[in-house]
């Protein structure tokens, strides 16, 4: 309950801060929507040229991948935006500020920053889903549920890789790239990947868990598969919590003086 209150405070504060520069906020949101729309053109032209089947995936199925990825990525940016900056927070000693506060460290760090353009991604994902997918209550529930799951798993992956900074020094570039790879692979028809790549996409770069399998469930629902993928998602999230908590034990304060306003 206390955590929910903290979360709602952060959402309110971040939104107020974004709306302070209203023109910049709107430019970023609409800029991101336009930016993402370019990819529809790419897939439209490609499917028109090669016929509506790439490794068993049609235009509608690929658009599902794009909508859920944009929506989940947007949610992660808006509500868990600080995951991207975790390495920097650790190596600059900024973590001191969070350690001193009487709140759970990881949620407190993750919620305290919102990336404005994420609103554009999330809105784009919702609109794209509404325009390109057959709508039903179950379908919408799968989309929204797995959108949230994608946001959580993507953040968990970022937390795990950024936490390497606790152990090996600055892992910022590596962790940023790893997060980008999850998104990159999530947006291409899963059928084109096979062999060892598929193993990677089910584990260290879990694009299959956050995008391909939800797309499969959206097309034809299967309870066993649903439970399996949720268990896998939970495992990754739990892994992130453990890796971060262990990392914090190794953290040495830089005696940095700072304030959060």
């Amino acid at each position: 309950m206390k955590l929910m209150r903290l979360f709602s405070h952060y959402v309110k504060l971040n939104l107020q801060s974004a709306m302070e520069y209203r023109a910049a906020f709107l430019t970023q949101v609409f800029g991101m929507i336009l930016n993402n729309s370019a990819f529809i053109v790419f897939w439209l032209v490609l499917f028109r040229a090669v016929g509506d089947d790439i490794a068993g995936w049609g235009f509608t199925a690929v658009m599902f991948l794009w909508s859920i990825t944009a929506f989940g990525f947007g949610l992660a940016s808006v509500f868990l935006g600080n995951a991207l900056y975790l390495s920097r927070i650790i190596y600059t000693g900024e973590l001191d500020v969070y350690l001193l506060q009487p709140k759970p460290i990881l949620p407190n760090v993750l919620w305290s920053r919102s990336i404005v353009s994420g609103w554009g991604d999330a809105a784009y994902g919702l609109v794209l889903f509404g325009l390109t997918q057959p709508l039903s209550v179950a379908g919408i529930a799968i989309f929204l549920g797995f959108g949230v799951a994608l946001a959580l798993v993507l953040t968990a992956i970022r937390v795990i890789y950024h936490s390497l900074t606790f152990y090996f020094g600055n892992a910022e570039d590596f962790a940023t790239t790893a997060g980008e790879l999850v998104i990159l692979f999530s947006m291409y028809p899963g059928g084109v990947f096979d062999g060892p790549t598929m193993w990677l996409l089910h584990s260290v770069i879990p694009a299959a868990l956050v995008a391909f399998i939800p797309a499969q469930l959206f097309a034809s629902f299967d309870t066993t598969l649903l439970l399996a993928v949720l268990a896998a998602d939970a495992l990754i999230i739990a892994g992130a919590v453990i890796v971060f908590a262990r990392g914090v034990r190794r953290y040495e304060s830089g005696n940095r003086i700072g304030a959060r306003l």
């Binding site: 520069y21 910049a24 430019t27 990819f39 032209v45 790439i54 980008e180 028809p189 990947f193």
Partner: protein, 290 residues
Amino acid sequence: MRSRNDDRAAAGGRSGRPFRVNTASGTIARLARRYGCILRYGARNQLIYLRSFIMRNFFLIVILFVMHRLWRVILADGPIVGFTLVQMLWYLAVTEAIELSRGRLFQDIQDDVRTGAVVYTLARPYPYPAFEFARWFGGALVRLVPLLAIGFVSALALVGPLPRFAYGISLALPSIVLGLAIGTLWVLLIGLLAFWSEDVTPFYWIYQKIVFIFGGMFLPIDYFPEWLAAISRVLPTAFQAYWPARLAVAPDAAVAMTTYAGQLVWIAGLAGACALLFAAATKRMHAHGG
């Protein structure tokens, strides 16, 4: 009408040595030395950030890998619009290398405008946009070399050698460099919009996606419907990525000449646009305090 400089040159100046008279070749040599120096500074700066450099190159390998998996399925039954799988992968290696090597110059300009640091550059003996262009173009050239090398090695490993590689790359290289100059000028132009807009990042995103589509970044323009392909081929974005990459995989001396000419025209046009925009921007600048 004689200028004060002419009088000084005739008098031999304060030091007693005669001043150099400005000739066209002397001016060009002086400008080349000045901007060459800035270009070298930008290039050296790149070599310091080794970690980002490695990650950027790694990302290129992954992108080419994903593209290989995608196009392997699409082109399984043979070439479409004349592109074989081998040509497609090598084409993408070139377009990606050009795109990834171009820096985010607009951010520096945006920061300079926000902090007011741009005002101090007005007193320097070179125009601010020319300085930023030379600095970032130098950095981009340094980034380009390993990106091209890694792109080519990846393409070689994934699909094998490109037929007529040596001829193709000799025609494409000047075009790749000119394409990079076009890209850098676009980003400079976007950066200069910071004088009017609080945050120019969304303009950069949109520009990136215009290059992505109309520059044939991931999908050669030949795949477009004919009417759209005809328009896209003459746009500056095509001269930035599509034409250089096409020259590399389908070399043709006549096409190379047209490409170079088109690129030079767009470079002149974009450089002119930057100069005009900066001139308009300087009129909006206000300096307070000392």
